[in-house]
Symmetry: C2
DNA sequence: AACTTGGGAAACCAATCGGTTGCAAATATA
DNA sequence: TATATTTGCAACCGATTGGTTTCCCAAGTT
């Protein structure tokens, strides 16, 4: 069972859940109200998000509040870093950059 | 057929392909040499990446050079923006922030 | 013209996905 | 104690995924 952040955010419903609880921790029932799926469907998404540690549980009586592990989101940012370097230096002129790199390699 | 960037980067091989051709445009055969799969397997990944416009083809004789559409990568960055706001303002104290938001909503 | 090379498309396969229904466990309430 | 609520988990289902093999076509090469 592959379980990494990128696969977790591949599903649009999961991205919506992340955005939803980013502002405020919520229970599965409360989250499910925002979507067209069943509570169990949302629960499965929450399990996936929990497994890759993008969210964490907080027990309060019989209710469970899910909240975003914002630090985990930084891993996506970290991956983007290598590309940010590219698009920041080239100012929309990828072709020129590639030409330069090619020339250097020769 | 769902075809968006997030689903495209969900696969580790595709992420590797992206990183590979970010530096230099490459042909399918050259790309396939870096992986354990067949050329046709890589070709399928390239098709998916092309469909969501993360990469583009450039014909040179009978060879096809694939190169990264770095601008498309910015869409991931854009999605991350909303969360960057959160982790930049809180300095590792999500709990405090959530408490504040909850209080404001009351 | 015949052959080789680079590459895409189709058919097929096991594995996984996202969703549902049904159930069990635990907490709260009467 | 009996009942209702909140939740997770397992089983099942059709659709999709990632991969392979096979085939075809276009462009060079001999």
């Amino acid at each position: 069972m592959r379980r990494d952040i990128f696969q977790a955010i591949a599903d649009p419903t999961r991205r919506a859940i992340i955005a939803l609880i980013a502002l405020q921790a919520m229970t599965p029932n409360a989250i499910a109200e925002h979507f067209d799926t069943t509570r169990q469907g949302v629960s499965k998404h929450l399990r996936i998000l929990t497994e890759c540690e993008l969210i964490k549980k907080e027990y309060k009586g019989r209710e469970i509040y899910y909240q975003l592990e914002i630090n985990k989101m930084k891993e996506i940012d970290k991956w983007l870093e290598q590309f940010r370097k590219i698009w920041e230096t080239r100012f929309n002129q990828l072709d020129d950059l590639l030409a330069t790199i090619k020339k250097q390699k020769k």
